[in-house]
């Protein structure tokens, strides 16, 4: 019956090609969503992950830097440094602002840090160098590509001219990209030289992290103190809660479309070959033989479509990244395998829907 399953599919080559194409497109969509998710997940939290502070201090009730505004007085720094066991307290100022090039404004997530410690600066430099002076800026690679900024060029940051000295990676959060300047420059932009978003703390003895955090919290009840792992997890959860529902919705639509296309083809195949199925039933075919035909067809189509999906995915991603550099993707073999297995499961669901049609094929139809 395997031969029958294959031959009946091949007997309608255009329909088969359209179905494989349709299912393949759904698979490409799923590959793409997963790749975007991983790309965004990395870009959104890479800044926190790479800046290995022992403790993060922010305004109370602010749990993350992705979707929270924290304002803390810079004067807290001295008191924090006075807590026994604190080695350093590096201020960082994060704010949404715009930079201009050739009269056009572009929004960035401006990050002011102290170049002397490097804490809070770009996680990775892909080109050029990090910020060293107040008139310098480092831009995210996707941002720079999209708006055609190059190292050595000047940009306008709310009236201040800054020179692009470097391009960073791991700083693309999909909807917004990081840009790095000195703390002083960022404070000039905000207009309050005594305000920062928070502090990144290094401690001398990591085994005493809990007690140090407790002492800082005691000294500043209006601030929130997080260890690195908690703060990273907070940011990951924030990113997921904002992004995953959208991703799941689109992926679910893709899965439903895929299942519908496949069910439709399998059902049409059964109805067109109704007489064959009636003959097989009359001749004594066990139910499993007939089911096997439908299941095999579903798996053949989903396998072919997965192959089409894999072949088209990488060139497509490359094209999309060229057209929209802010869309950063990250793929792995595990992701691809997960989608392929998921599609195989969906194809089994499709075949089980179509198999219901077999019940309504009657033995006596052979005499019609």
């Amino acid at each position: 019956m395997d031969t029958y399953a294959v031959r009946t599919l091949r007997s309608q080559p255009l329909r088969l090609a359209l179905t494989i194409g349709g299912v393949g497109l759904c698979i490409v969509l799923m590959f793409f969503l997963l790749a975007v998710y991983r790309g965004v997940a990395e870009g959104s939290v890479e800044y926190v992950r790479r800046n290995k502070a022992d403790l993060w201090i922010l305004q109370r009730n602010v749990t993350n830097i992705l979707r929270g505004s924290s304002l803390v007085s810079l004067s807290c720094r001295q008191t924090i440094l006075g807590v026994p066991g604190v080695e350093s307290a590096s201020p960082v100022l994060l704010l949404l602002t715009t930079i201009k090039k050739e009269g056009r404004s572009r929004t960035v997530f401006l990050t002011g840090f102290e170049p002397s410690t490097g804490m809070g600066g770009p996680p990775r430099i892909a080109e050029g160098r990090t910020v060293g002076a107040d008139n310098e800026i480092v831009l995210d690679r996707a941002f720079a590509r999209k708006f055609k900024f190059r190292v050595g060029e000047s940009v306008d940051l709310l009236g201040y001219s800054l020179k692009v000295v470097g391009i960073s990676t791991g700083t693309n959060a999909f909807v917004i990209q990081y840009a790095f300047v000195t703390l002083a420059s960022a404070q000039k932009v905000i207009g309050f030289p005594s305000i920062v978003s928070g502090f990144m703390i290094s401690v001398k003895d990591k085994t005493r992290l809990g007690s140090i955090a407790g002492k800082i919290q005691e000294a500043f009840p209006g601030l929130a103190v997080y260890d690195q792992a908690t703060f990273l997890e907070n940011n990951i959860q924030e990113m997921k809660s904002g992004f995953l529902p959208l991703l799941y919705t689109v992926a679910a639509i893709g899965a439903v479309v895929l299942t519908a296309i496949l069910s439709l083809l399998l059902s049409v195949n059964i109805l067109e070959r109704r007489k064959d199925f009636a003959i097989l039933k009359t001749l004594g075919s066990p139910k499993r033989f007939l089911r096997r035909i439908v299941i095999l067809q579903a798996l053949l189509i989903s396998s072919a479509a997965s192959l089409v999906g894999i072949v088209f995915f990488f060139p497509l991603v490359s094209l999309i990244e060229r057209l929209s550099p802010e869309i950063s993707t990250k793929s792995s073999l595990g992701q691809i395998l997960a989608v392929v297995v998921g599609v195989a499961c969906l194809s089994l669901i499709s075949s089980s829907i179509s198999i219901q049609k077999l019940r309504k094929i009657y033995l006596l139809e052979v005499f019609r």
Binding site: Y4, R7, L283
Partner: protein
């Protein structure tokens, strides 16, 4: 073929009626029909179109349940078989031959025969080997890899017979098996069926309106308007 079945009753109908109630008013398919069919016998159900021959074959195969009366297949009432048992019975013990052959067009000649062998659990290799020997027996071995669309009507019917007897069926039900054939080919087909009945201890029930088949039949039952009129 099971030796226990030699010279025994394969099919028995007793006062069998079938009334179709599809349109709200009862249409008689067959009415109070009684007969037996035995091994090593070719029984001809002779009658014009609409006389109830096909209904009778459907009842005999368990494709239809009688409205009243008793249908016994291999010594057991058809009503006592479960759906799965009937399916198993059709796969192992009942062969079908149709007027329009009903071969599966997307399978080769050999695969059309192999498919019923696979229903009974034979391996791919066993099925292929058995199909090859059957096709050789019917002198169509050279057509094994052809598709049905390329065959003549006579060749198609030979394939259908090979398929019907592939599992050594005890009962072959043939519905107008010569209806699409020239008279010479038709007689050849009936002789093949008769040979099968004699040499393999099978029972062949042929439903036809073709009077020329009478000379090949062991017994003839004449049907008209759903009733048996006479036997000879």
């Amino acid at each position: 073929m099971n030796n226990a079945l030699v010279n025994s009753t394969v099919l028995r109908l007793e006062n069998v009626s079938k009334i179709f109630n599809g349109s709200g008013r009862g249409t008689i398919g067959v009415e109070r029909v009684s007969f037996e069919a035995r091994t090593e016998e070719l029984l001809l159900l002779l009658g014009p179109s609409g006389s109830g021959k096909t209904t009778l074959l459907s009842l005999a195969a368990g494709l239809l349940q009688p409205t009243s009366g008793l249908v016994q297949l291999f010594g057991k009432s058809i009503e006592s078989y479960s759906a799965a048992e009937l399916q198993d019975l059709r796969a192992h013990q009942v062969g079908f031959i149709f007027q329009t052959f009903l071969l599966i067009e997307s399978l080769t000649v050999s695969e059309n025969v192999e498919v019923v062998l696979r229903f009974t659990g034979k391996s791919r290799k066993e099925a292929r080997s058995r199909a090859a020997s059957l096709l050789e027996m019917f002198e169509i071995g050279h057509l094994a890899e052809e598709f049905p669309a390329t065959l003549s009507q006579g060749e198609k019917q030979r394939v259908a017979i090979a398929r019907a007897i592939a599992n050594g069926a005890g009962l072959i039900l043939a519905d107008e098996p010569t209806g699409s054939l020239e008279s010479k080919q038709g007689l050849e087909i009936i002789r093949l069926l008769r040979d099968y009945a004699k040499s393999d201890h099978g029972c062949v029930v042929v439903a036809s309106h073709d009077l020329r088949l009478v000379e090949c039949a062991d017994r003839v039952l004449r049907m008209e308007d759903g009733r048996l009129r006479s036997s000879s």
